[in-house]
Amino acid sequence: MTEKRRLFFFMIGTAAFLSWLTSPIFGSSFPQTSPEAFFKLNNGLKVLIIDRKASPLVHVVLAVGLGSRDESPSTYGLAHFLEHAILFRGERSKPVEAIQRELRKKGGWINGHTSQDLTLFELSIPAPELESGMAALCDLVFNLKLSEEDVQKEKEIILEEMNLQAAEPFPLGVSLAYEHLFPGHPYGHPIIGTRESLTGLGCDEIMAAYHNFYHPSNCVLVGVVDSSTGKAKELVEKYFGQLEAKKVERHAPEKVPALPKTPRIERQLDIQQSHLFVACRAPDITSLDQYAFDLLTTIFGRGPNPLLPLALARRRVQVAGSYISYYSHRYAGVLLLHFVLDAKQLASAEREAIQFLRQAYRENYSPDDVLGEAREYVLDFIGSARNMLRLNAEKNLADGRNLASVAATYLLLLEGSSLPSYSQAVESLESTDLRKVASKYLARPELVTIIINPLHPAGKKVDEKP
């Protein structure tokens, strides 16, 4: 139920959400948001109400400023553990099972996600049950009482989750990429924690972190509701306005250190195809470079003619699948190339992919980059990527839960930042800008390479009873 590595890539990469209030960057049909729709309660909770008229369904998302970056080696996995505990364990005004069952009977659904920077709780419920949903969300998140027995029970489940992640190529590859891109930094350890850290976590330690971080002033609440009656605002004040104000104590964020050397890691799983991951650091969520980097990664990896697989194919390197992602966090970003391919193609794919990244600053991304007849032979990669990003933005607008989650994430992470409107920034970019960020981040990057190979290259398969 809980995704661990949903690194907030579900929107348009790295949008500047605060600018929404004056500039509808999500798409041309972003609902009008009046200044009154964004307000702060006396206890510090920031609230945004996005109006969706006459919708039968409402969505409320609470973002809490506690992520894996707030953990120390002895508490790795704590933020994720708390997310599980809040959803499934302990007592509140009544046992958590009773709250969950009542919510289900009202047609509601609540889920959670933990990332490096924050924890999200997402509620979707039929519009007439908004009050029941708000009450349940507030009770679940802010009234946690946990026993040692609850802690032990949930630990066993999370250990199962660890096994699952270690058994699948993508989560394993992503986890190894972060570990080696951020050695010694809080972004480097697994969000789920390690076997040792999880086993060592005690109830007192967990509750101490809960009491420190789970406060309204450390949260953002976003609702996608029909706001015409003013009921949503009333309900927010009724349930969340009662919460006590408290200042959160947290360590100053650690600076992301330079990478000492370029690591290359190999693992094996019982699979038929090999997986190659090439990762490097990228702009963070507050960087002005993020817009050009978003366009660049879209050009590299998406659409009917993505540039990177095309470059590999020109060199006769065949891949069965290629996935290029840009994850932006508060203090760093990550570019991740992922190829699924035959083991025989690994060496050439790795070589060509790295060569491609290093040379990306020399590419032509638009016919405007050349003169005369040569224009006929240069594809309009920028125009295509702009439309792909626009389409992605519009798709996310329709999905109310996604819209609320993205809004809550950006409001929490970009507090105090002043960034231009995403749409305006992307529209104004030219090939020169793309080449500049390619030169800055990709020409001489410290790369992490991860290879996951089949355990039995011949493909051992046995169909018989155990």
Binding site: G27, N163, A166
Partner: protein, 439 residues
């Protein structure tokens, strides 16, 4: 041209409102996408459904071509998917450049009963995108080189399917209940079946199935209906008329091997208990979804205690594969290999207890609400909404069947559902699947 503007085929409007009033569920329909739809037959026989949805400035188009895996000749598995892929492959660079410019996305899938071509585009790019789709659908190139290249892609897709434990489980269970052909075959075929497919087979398949009479298209968009109708008429309306092909179906059978084990050297083990489903009807479509929600993966479901109390698994859940001739339902969990025997016993006990104790009113109430929620969520996803409407129309069900479900749910009685649950979860028909290390 037939126009069912704002009409729900099969139910009189007055009756609908009476039902709504009686069931007290009117609010669930307020603003629900699907009520404001129109339906037309284009001159080439293509059935067009248009739904207005202003949530975003993009458009989803879903073209359903009757004839999926079930119509593939034995020994030529993979033919339907191969044909659809080739039919949408850019024929030349000019086409590719134009498609790139739109920023649109095209997705293809081969299901048991249909081929699905899903297009998502900015509304401003609808016309240019659909012109490109029509161009390649009408005049595809089935050269030996293109067929050969695509076969290699499909072989890689087969391996990807096997490497993903959920896909592997699905493929194994479908093959168990339906054999190696039709519903039971992989969309990507097998190396031998791909080898057997010639370019003439692809041409013949395309000619027979890719035509107006045999297809349905649903469009969910913020654009005006008249404009959409003009665009679709000028593009997919050009597909040859052809003939509607008779629906072929395939009933499930019980496999001889009822305890399937696939060895996988892994830290986690997958365990499933699967049951065949009968021929699909609108009524059992609803009952199947209620069944899946009752066993399900969420707090309050029958399997939930295996996660929360018994601590057997992190992931528990249920899956439905619904096809006209018959389908498949399974519950599954993923667990530590050392717990596999215990898990098997507990899952068996959960099902036995459900059969012996029956369902409670609470079970039904929660399943109803969970199903309702999933339908309302579908309404916020234009692609899912377009596909649902097109599939219903292709099955000759009411296009607004999702809205009808919201009303019919209240009428499902505990006795009716209990009786259906007993008939499906028959231990005599259960097939166990285990993927993981030897224990």
């Amino acid at each position: 041209m037939r126009n069912h503007n704002h009409r729900s085929p099969g139910l009189k409007p007055k009756l609908i409102w009476v039902l709504l009033f009686l069931s007290g569920s009117a609010y669930f329909l307020r603003g629900t996408p699907g009520l404001a739809f129109s339906q037309y037959d284009l001159p080439n026989g293509l059935s067009l459904i248009i739904e207005k949805n202003d949530l975003s400035d993009h458009t989803s188009v879903c073209l359903i071509i009757r004839g999926g895996r079930v119509v593939e000749p034995p020994g030529k598995e993979g033919l339907s998917y191969l044909t659809a892929r080739l039919s949408l492959d850019p024929p030349d660079n000019d086409f590719l450049h134009r498609l790139m410019k739109t920023g649109s996305e095209i997705r293809i899938a081969s299901r048991g009963d249909f081929l699905v071509v899903a297009v998502e585009t900015l509304s401003s790019e609808l016309e240019s995108t659909m012109k490109l789709v029509e161009r390649t659908l009408s005049r595809p190139i089935f050269s030996g080189i293109r067929v050969g290249n695509l076969k290699r892609v499909l072989e890689e897709n087969q391996k990807k399917e096997t490497d993903d434990i959920d896909s592997q489980a699905e493929a194994t269970l479908l093959a168990a209940f339906f054999g190696p052909h039709g519903y039971g075959a992989s969309a990507y075929g097998q190396p031998a079946s791909l080898e057997a497919i010639k370019s003439q087979d692809v041409s013949a398949f395309h000619q027979k199935y890719f035509c107006g009479q045999n297809s349905v298209v649903a469009v969910v968009s913020n654009l005006e209906e008249e404009y959409i109708r003009r665009v679709i008429n000028a593009t997919l309306g050009k597909l040859p008329r052809g003939e509607r092909q008779a629906a072929e179906t395939q009933p499930p059978r019980l496999p001889e091997e009822r305890d399937i084990f696939i060895e996988k050297d892994s830290q986690t083990a997958y365990l499933a208990v699967a049951f065949p489903l009968p021929c699909l009807t609108p009524d059992n479509f609803i009952l199947n979804h209620l069944l899946a929600n009752i066993l399900g993966a969420t707090p309050g479901s029958i399997l939930w205690p295996l996660r929360i109390t018994e601590k057997i698994a992190y992931e528990v859940g249920s899956r439905l594969i619904l096809q006209k001739g018959g389908g498949c339902f399974w519950v599954y969990l993923k667990t530590f290999p050392g717990k596999i025997n215990e898990a098997k016993e507990k899952i068996r006990t959960s099902i036995t207890r459900l059969r012996e104790n029956g369902l409670s009113p609470d079970d039904l109430a929660m399943a109803r609400q969970a199903y309702r929620l999933s339908l309302l969520m579908t309404g916020e996803n234009k692609a899912k909404q377009a596909e649902a409407m097109a599939v219903y129309a292709a099955w000759d069900w009411p296009v607004d069947f999702n809205q009808q479900i919201l009303m019919k749910l209240e009428a499902v009685s505990l006795e009716e559902l209990s009786s259906y649950v007993l008939s499906v979860l028959d231990p005599e028909k259960a097939v166990f699947l285990q993927i993981g290390p030897k224990t």
